[in-house]
Subunit: 251 residues, 2 copies
């Protein structure tokens, strides 16, 4: 679906922003960039900001104006931060994302961004079948062009569901395994005199709370069992070598 | 809640990125920026990219390292794009957002970003109580620093629910009003001979489908009624001035 989503920059002013938009698009799985009504004034700056997305930059096309840029698109979504009579029916990128992705399965869809200083003008807004407003603070609502494209591209990328988070390689430990770990800890904590037998059940509630507040994986349980065993080994070794516990050992 | 969220840039390299991060923060209602282990090498470039967010730039503090930057924070969330044994338990900014906001009601929370080239190192990762992975394309997963901050700040801003979209000033029209509009259109379309009376019910289904596919506000209905009335006025006027319809009038 994302291949059918076109980013249109209308009359962009700063070449660095065009390059930054290329990087943003590559980050979010987009590749179709059209510049409407203005080209790249400073190719060096554009390449610098495109960073590893030079293929998007080199493939981008320039056309005379917005009408030509969206002529082969069905849904045309304009981003606007300004308000006004014909800019009321705005929704957020997150709200539009499902409709955009559905349309992108049947035809080409354009996300249209205006120039850095004034945004889309009224005749450009008229070409848009939908308007989109990016949530931002009223104290400073104006986003950099590439950041505006990022929010919209990111929302589409997430909604497309193509991102698979890094797999948790160690599964959550089973209760029986955790119980063996707690039994080891209880024996160890008694052995080192951290708690009296009469208080063991009570103290172990605190220990359990600490270790089970988050998720405990098999790896985590293995580490915790290893710590308890090592403490016991050390204590046992000391007992063998120094029959009289309590002797000063450098302390 | 957003006032208690700190952005920490660890060993940032490019002053332009620091400035761009300031703008991103102002856009998303954040203001507490700390630079850990490196300062602003090029203040002119930083100010240029900060644009209207110079107050965030001027208020930012520089400290020796990450430990100092997060010393007064409870939750410390590190952003990482790399994978590895101790980077498995990553979640996305959207998944962490509710926990971050909850923690920000009780104490200070830090979102930590590494340097542009290599990200956070293992000793910095160790200071983080949570890790965060921004969804991105495996083909080019590396985001520009300010864009990474934008995604995280945006997710917090949206989750905080402080953004109120521009209000729809004209309410959805009531059915009775729409029906008056359709009655006007039917009369007009009959009058201009667009449809025969026998086909009127059928044709009006098509007209209804077009006009009700989306939402129709009171304003929209008023415009559509005005069009129908104006056509009728024009037709009636022509009938009066030219009793014999069908005469060529420049066609």
């Amino acid at each position: 679906m994302l291949e059918a989503v076109r980013i249109v920059l209308t009359r962009p002013i700063y070449s660095g922003n065009i390059g930054a938009v290329c990087r943003v698009m590559a980050n979010m799985g987009l590749s179709d960039l059209v510049l409407a009504g203005a080209g790249i004034a400073d190719p060096v700056e554009a390449r610098k900001m495109a960073c590893g997305a030079r293929d998007v930059l080199e493939a981008c096309r320039q056309v005379g104006g917005l009408a030509a840029a969206v002529a082969d698109c069905t849904l045309v979504i304009g981003a606007t931060a300004r308000e006004g009579l014909y800019r009321q029916h705005c929704r957020t990128p997150r709200e539009w994302a499902p409709e955009i992705l559905a349309a992108a399965q049947a035809g080409r869809v354009a996300l249209v961004f205006g120039p850095e200083d004034n945004g889309l003008n009224n005749s450009e807004i008229a070409l848009c079948t939908r308007l989109m407003r990016i949530p931002s603070s009223p104290a400073y609502a104006s986003l950099n062009l590439s950041h505006a494209v990022m929010i919209c591209a990111y929302e589409l990328f997430v909604a497309a569901g193509v991102f698979t988070p890094p797999a948790e390689k160690s599964v959550e430990a089973l209760s029986a395994k955790k119980e063996r770990m707690f039994a080891l800890w209880e024996r160890m904590l008694l052995k080192i005199g951290f708690m009296e037998p009469v208080m063991a059940a009570h103290m172990m509630q605190g220990v359990r709370r600490i270790f089970t507040r988050g998720r405990l994986s098999d790896d985590d349980v293995r580490i915790l069992m290893g710590i308890a065993r090592q403490v016991e080994w050390y204590v046992d070794k000391r007992k063998q070598s120094r029959p009289a516990p309590g002797a000063a050992d450098g302390a």
